[in-house]
Amino acid sequence: MARYGMALDYKNCINCKACEVACKEENGILLGADKHRIWVGVKEIEGEFPLLSIASNTFMPSQCQQCDNAPCQEVCPTHATYYDENGVVRVDPDKCILCSYCMNACPYDARYVDDRTVTVDKCNFCSDTRLARGETTTACQATCPTKVRIFGDLDDPESELSQVLREREHFTLKTHLGTEPKLFYLI
């Protein structure tokens, strides 16, 4: 029993996409830009050459926000989307009927259709691969060259994640929607 979350030191991100590849190789994700559990959002630069705004060109690594109050779980008519014992929002492929309510409900656009399992899939913090083997990192965290991610247990006050969140300012995405994400972006 844990309550898994993640902090993202997003300013470290250089948009190399190591995390995307590691995720696909670890979890057997299909290729294709529209088939991804995680991604890096890139904002096109503002200004005219040579007067460009450096600050406008940001890289925002993202994935399922693992909401404590997940709209995708709420709307699922077959209970295919559920919270597991560690607070991770998971999908049961046997129950998913591809109605795609969850895709519409997710404010973070984190869900996509996996054509092999015929499931609306999403990031599950490597729960059925790495965590199931007793490992303590997700594939995206472990591989990252600039160490953007810190994965850990929010219920354990001694975890590095809890410590970082106590010590550093952070924000969550679309906080006003009340989804209570468990991904925290460090400032």
């Binding site: 030191d9 250089i14 190399c16 979890n27 303590t136 060259p145």
Partner: protein, 799 residues
């Protein structure tokens, strides 16, 4: 554990191929025809059952990062970072993660093959290893073998040249070259970092590393560490940018991902960095901001350089006109750099030669760095320590008939025809053009090529094609049916890095270590590691070639009369270096370090006191050496030149017609004719040159390259995103899709290297995007003969 459909089909396919093996087949049969572009996964979900973990070193680029391969039921299912290696810290980049796709690429070279069609046509037949070796020695009805060529050339071993790309087993291949006795060795250096390595080498005595973990102020000019990843620099650095300890000044004509992480970005005019550095040096010297104690102790000819800067008038105002960087900014950068020095770095970089003045640029950068005293010190440029390895037995016979390196002395000029200095790796582009234009000193007849793709990696592909067609015997050792492999007479398939153990390597630096690439799984198909390929080849050719030497070499004839043939042959026995297995050679190489061989097997990494020093300090980070044991400073700041000084004025260079001090010349100025564009090339994080072009995973991240063109210019020309444009120069033309952006100047265009292969045997890479070297003109850098890659102007037309 489920093996996904495509991989299973691909393995089944290989069985079918074995059954029909031996028959003459068209290339479409020999190379894979599996063209599954649909919703079929090529990735494999890792399992939770039994698995073995094998420590290895990545070969998806040159960095050699440590990886841990997960093997389930004989299939490699995942590559993870191996945290124990100081150089790569604890990471694998996207290419490192995609190494599995190289291993299981259905297009891989699987069997030895010999040419049955016209040279360059790409028609081969599958043969046994013995048949391939025999074809190399004795030829076929399509091409002559070594025996005929060397007999005709009267044992001039230099009529066969050798070339290799960078890699851990390049060493093994080079041993073969040394035994063979040719004088012509061409490596990637003249298409890559020759000028930077040599510029720093002659100025500071070594090509140093940059301590980006501790530097407070960094100028990154013409280096793009966010996209051209170098370990540990990339990891150390970008955790500290954006107001977190390291100030970054990015100098690049384009707005790169590195620029996105900078405090300031200045789009310099291409090829004018030398003027920028000279002006920085001018400010540091004239305003007396430099480290006087360091200069006093470790500079040679400082006053001469000072007078030179003054006499030539290298002021920021002067540089502003040339570089486009405002003078007041140059003053500011020079002052800030010197304020932070010695914890300030003018980043040396590791890239191709872009401009003709690149050697002088590197000299000027090294001297500017040294003015701040940031040499051999924490936060500056460092030399570090290296753990020595033991060598092994090789042969280097003397062939009296083998002529010297194929270069011509310049008439009435110091130096050579093509460039001032002939270095160990040669000048590829000058060599190619000389052979092509019939200017060789003696006939160049054949080539042994290892892990190298000159069709893609050398400017002016049309000339390279003609050059390769003109050779009598091309032997290609590679893992992929590259554009160059299509010009082979004999193809010897190597296994990928995950299927072989390579020579153990020592990695120097502040945190030195030894690391090894351990074999993860057995070689697939009939592929072999290069050491085994060369073992078989030398067993076949060594004695017959010695017979030719006996026939023409009077020294050998005399020697045999004195000592007897058996004794003399011992010096010419090419099989000697390849008799031992790589594991045995590695065990011997590290035998001075107790426990090292076992540690390398188990962890992939070894350094003295590793067990005491290495520990995890956070979920992401590890300690390799305690601070007091890190070798930031090994000689108290003393340069490694023979004089022990920073060399400002190189008289030996002057004798070869090279400026002894970095000097700006009028012809270096940047200009583009009206209506044309300066062509820029470069890298990004998801591709390593052409070597990864057919990787399904990386190809999925970027299907094809796009040409960057300024948005406003594109609008005027009626070019929209995705429109096909033709880019042409005197070297050739390519068609490529457009990406209008404000990240590039109105008179420049850019696209990344590594796309647009023409080999039909490459399912993913074939004609995907454009090949930069099809249009980059072959401009030779005058000092070391490097290929200057940013000197080409192109025309653009909407197709």
């Amino acid at each position: 554990m489920a093996v996904e459909i495509s991989r299973r089909r691909f393995l089944q396919g290989s069985v079918a191929m074995t059954v029909v093996g031996g028959m003459a087949m068209t290339p479409s049969n020999l190379f894979s025809k599996e063209k599954v572009h649909g919703e079929v996964s090529i990735t494999t979900k890792t399992g939770t059952g039994k698995a073995t973990l094998v420590p290895t070193l990545c070969e998806m680029c040159v960095n050699k990062c440590a990886a841990m391969a997960r093997v389930e039921n004989g299939v490699v299912t995942k590559l993870d970072p191996n945290p124990m290696f100081p150089k790569s810290r604890n990471m694998l980049c996207p290419r490192g993660n995609a190494g599995i796709q190289e291993l299981y690429d259905p297009d891989r070279l699987k069997y030895p093959m010999i040419r049955i069609g016209e040279k360059g046509e790409g028609k081969f037949k599958r043969v046994t290893w013995e048949e391939a070796y025999d074809a190399i020695l004795n030829g076929t009805d399509k091409f002559p073998g070594l025996a005929k060529i060397l007999d005709e050339e009267k044992d001039n071993r230099s009529s066969i040249f050798f070339c290799a790309g960078e890699g851990m087993a390049e060493h093994t291949f080079k041993i073969f070259y040394e035994g063979f006795g040719s004088s012509n060795w061409l490596n990637h250096a003249s298409l890559c970092l020759r000028t930077v390595v040599s510029g720093y080498g002659v100025t500071l005595g070594a090509y140093p590393m940059a301590d980006l973990e501790n530097a407070e102020y960094i100028i990154m000019a013409g280096a793009n560490r966010a996209e051209a990843i170098v370990t540990p620099d990339t990891m150390d650095f970008f955790k500290r940018t954006k107001g977190r300890g390291a100030k970054l000044i990015c100098i690049d004509p384009r707005f790169t991902n590195t620029a996105a992480k900078a405090d300031k970005w200045f789009p310099i005019k291409p090829g004018t960095d030398l003027a920028f550095v000279l002006a920085l040096s001018y400010v540091a010297v004239m305003e007396e901001l430099y480290d006087k104690a360091y200069v006093e102790k470790y500079f040679r000819d400082f006053n001469k350089y000072k007078n030179h800067l003054y006499a030539e008038g290298y002021t920021p105002e002067w540089a502003e006109k040339i570089t486009g960087i405002p003078a007041k900014e140059i003053y500011q950068i020079a002052r800030d750099f010197m304020k932070h020095a010695p914890k300030a770095v003018y980043y040396p970089g590791r890239r191709s030669t872009f401009a003709k003045n690149d050697f002088q640029l590197r000299r000027a950068m090294a001297i500017f760095q040294a003015l701040g005293g940031g040499i051999d010190t924490e936060g500056g440029l460092v030399f570090g320590k290296k753990l020595p390895l033991k060598g092994h037995e090789t042969v280097a016979p003397m062939y009296a008939q083998a002529q010297g390196v194929d270069v011509t002395r310049a008439k009435s000029k110091p130096g050579y025809d093509d460039c001032a200095i002939v270095s160990g790796g040669g000048s590829w582009i000058a060599f190619r053009n000389r052979v092509l234009e019939g200017r060789s000193v003696y006939p160049i007849r054949g080539m042994f090529l290892y892990k190298h793709n000159p069709m893609m990696n050398m400017p002016n592909s049309a000339k390279t094609a003609k050059f390769l067609k003109g050779l009598d015997l091309n032997v290609v050792i590679d893992i992929m049916p590259s554009d160059t492999a299509m010009y082979a007479d004999v193809i010897l398939p190597e296994c990928t890095y995950l299927e072989r153990t390579d020579p153990v390597k020592s990695f120097g630096g502040p945190e030195p270590s030894i690391a090894v690439r351990n074999k993860v799984i057995d070689p697939m198909y009939e592929t072999k590691p290069v050491i085994e390929i060369l073992r078989g080849l030398t067993e076949k050719i060594s004695k017959p070639l010695f017979e030719i030497t006996k026939k023409y070499d009077e020294d050998v004839q005399d020697d045999i009369a004195n000592r007897g043939e058996e004794e003399v042959y011992k010096d010419f026995d090419l099989t000697i270096p390849f008799r031992h297995s790589q594991e045995e050679l590695n065990e011997h190489a590290v035998s001075d370090y107790p426990g090292a061989y076992e540690a390398l097997k188990k962890h992939g990494v070894f350094y003295p006191k590793m067990e005491e020093y290495f520990k995890q300090v956070s979920v992401n980070e590890h300690r390799y050496y305690p601070d007091e044991a890190k070798a930031y400073s090994v000689a108290g700041g003393k340069p490694k030149t023979p004089s022990g000084k920073v060399e400002c004025n190189l008289k030996s260079m002057a004798r070869k017609g090279v400026d002894p001090m970095p000097t700006w010349r009028k012809e270096y100025e940047y200009s583009v004719p009206e209506g044309k564009f300066r062509m820029l090339t470069g890298r990004h994080a998801q591709f390593t040159q052409s070597g990864t072009a057919n990787n399904a995973m990386l190809h999925d991240l970027i299907h094809e390259n796009y040409i960057w063109i300024n948005k406003r210019v594109a609008k005027k020309m009626g070019i929209r995103f995705g429109d096909l444009v033709e880019v042409s120069s005197s070297a050739g033309k390519v068609q490529i899709k457009a990406y209008p952006t404000e990240k590039i100047a109105p008179d420049q265009v850019f696209f990344i290297h590594g796309f647009g292969e023409e080999s039909e045997a490459l399912t993913w890479a074939y004609r995907s995007g454009g090949n930069d070297n099809a249009i980059i003109e072959d401009v030779v850098e005058p000092v070391y003969g490097g290929a200057a890659m940013h000197e080409t102007n192109v025309a653009i037309r909407k197709v």
